[in-house]
Symmetry: none
Subunit: 224 residues, 4 copies
DNA sequence: AATGAATGAGCATTCATTCAT
DNA sequence: CATGAATGAATGCTCATTCAT
């Protein structure tokens, strides 16, 4: 039986629902806002709760966004795993499907990399150790799962998959940040190399990732 | 003739020296501190100047660090250019020397990537438009210079070099951020994949960059 | 039933009481200090609250004093209205009672004109538009009420009362400012005309206002 | 022989000229700006001097404006004296000419009352005692001169003139401040009594002053 | 559990004035 | 005398978090 969230969330399922509601409100608030984290007051009122209530579900504001980010990357990883396991054909075909899926997801969820960019410098500076450990352990678990799916889908040495995924993640995150910088440079009126602005971010990312994976998986003959 | 900077820096070279002194003090203060920017008071006293004096040379605190970051990346790019132009031999040898030099530089200047990680989210939020444009234009100019050196050293199509450098930069920056995350995860007591912690950052970065450049420059034969 | 204000003012009447407490503390702090507004920290500690709490009740420091000034003038106007409506007898008797009451009130509340002197140049420079409008509208409402009481008490043409009151207010405010100047001149050791210092401010004001009202209400025969 | 002000003002007349230049620049800067005093830097550059140089001629910034205000009121008083001494006819004619001249002057020099409004609360708070005394003594001297001209022109008891002038000044200053308030109230969108906004400031002032002088000089028959 | 009132640490920047050159 | 570089005091306000109700 579906139930509307009660005024007081006593049942376990109500509490989980309230937590989810806060996460969603935080997500929406962040996506709508400028670069930085919305204030606790904004999140609370977007959720329809009082400020104090939010702190019954999360210890700090940053914890909310850390949880949100973990959730979002988990989704990405699950999708990637599914694509790798579903796609039939050559290794190249699988990689291609994986990358295309990743790029498409990021294009459809532009707030993901925006939030991710805050990660190291902002989110972790204000979380209790215990929660931080929990998050990191969870993230690592999913990462290793993803890595092992890559290993088996592409028939790689054990442990190679997680490494590839980490580097894919790194290139993605780094490229997004550089791309923001580039876009701002352009909008500031500086004339820059055509090569850097010809492509939208998605195409740029696909190209870069494709090159990386080609290098990572290939026995290569230098073109000259 | 050596000259001590006078109590009042009237001469142009004294003013430049004072500006440099502030930059160095800011650098040291940032390197010594935790993640965030040192306060204006700290920078001033580290330079041996009064707070107000700092604001004669920079409009905002963030401008100091933006200038510092620009300076640091400029140095990196100049070194890279020199290596590419100096190294003799095959294209692979040149790339190898370039990457080795880059990695070594970053290992010797660990504060560079720490500061860089603040870049987008922190530094640009409080700079006058004019200065921002100047910085970006300067950065872009150096980037294009570097790109064209890559083009000619490796005999690439024009414009390819800047793209390669941007992606190198992106992978570097992204990997560093992920690596911080990983290190913290380990130190938090979470057990993680051996593959991710076997290498120090420098080695990890070299591997990843090597793979990327291999993919970017090669005609590849898929290993299977 | 008397109630002590709780540590947290949840009830509406408690909130009003806290607001009033802040106003009073601000009043006392201003009266005790030199010419300029006390700092936010001073007001807060005089109220026995934390700085942040003060900002739950007022948006800016200046708003506090604007509210205080409005309150003080409102009181003056109410008293004046009462005097005009209560006093029996000739028009001259009513005017005389009104002026005597006004002068007495100002003598008993010396901080009123001190605060008023800051009005235009200081208070309004830092208030949100909305609050400013509210204050001005409230002031104007009371002013018109006062004007209409004057109209009917003295049987004047409609609209004449508000004009008379405004000019009374203007002469009062201007004379106080000049008087401060004069007092300081004397205390600086400058010898000045006996006529300017013979009277204390109250007497001076009464004389001046009496002359003004005589001129405003009379059919006059030039003495020569 | 006229001479352009030299780079170094050694001669006494050059120094006086430089002082005058600063006063004029301050006047222009204040008139052009918003309500508050222009910064020392602005005054200096408007004069074409360096900041430090300004402080060779005035001890504090406020002293500049105090001197300016004194100069301006002196001019007003001289004009008033001239009008009173020149105008022929009845006492009423003389008063009328005097008031008309005063109002006209103020209408032509709108910055005068703007600057005057800062007087007590701003200018005097930062002047050395010695200079303050000098200014006040000078002002008082001119005031007494004006008063005695009024006395003789209107054949009043000695000392009455200075009192009348002071009250005229007070009503003027107070009315201007109230008028500013009223104008802002209107521009804020508050609907106010027609009587208060029907007249421009000059007409309002003339009416009020006329009423005051009528009361001050007349033997009056209450209209009822 | 929910509320929302109370807390208070934290900090860049301006600008009048001084003083070395 | 003129300069303009150096000084440093001075302070309102936000907002994450706590805790009385």
């Amino acid at each position: 039986m579906k139930r509307v969230i009660a005024a007081h969330a006593h049942a376990v399922e109500d509490k989980a629902a309230r937590r989810t509601a806060i996460l969603q409100a935080a997500d929406v608030s962040f996506a709508a806002g400028p670069g930085h984290l919305p204030t606790a007051a904004v999140i609370a009122s977007a959720t329809g709760l009082a400020k104090g209530t939010v702190y019954l579900y999360f210890q700090t504001k940053e914890e909310i966004f850390a949880a949100l980010l973990l959730q979002k990357w988990s989704t990405v990883m699950k999708e990637s795993q599914a694509l790798l396991q579903t796609t039939k054909g050559t290794r190249a075909a699988k990689v291609s499907a994986f990358l295309a899926g990743l790029v498409a997801h990021l294009e459809n969820h532009p707030e993901l990399l925006r939030l991710d960019a805050l990660g190291y410098s902002v989110l972790e500076k204000n979380m209790s150790h215990a929660v931080l450990v929990t998050h990191k352990a969870e993230f690592m678990m999913r990462l290793e799962k993803t890595g092992s799916v890559i290993d088996s889908a592409l028939r790689l040495t054990e442990g190679r998959g997680i490494q590839l995924f980490m580097r894919t993640y790194a290139l993605t995150r780094g490229l997004w940040q550089s791309y923001q910088h580039t876009e701002e440079t352009v909008s500031a009126g500086v004339i820059i190399s055509q090569r850097l602005v010809a492509n939208p971010f998605g195409a740029e990312l696909r190209d870069a990732l494709t090159e990386y994976w080609r290098g990572a998986l290939s026995v290569c003959a230098d073109r000259r």
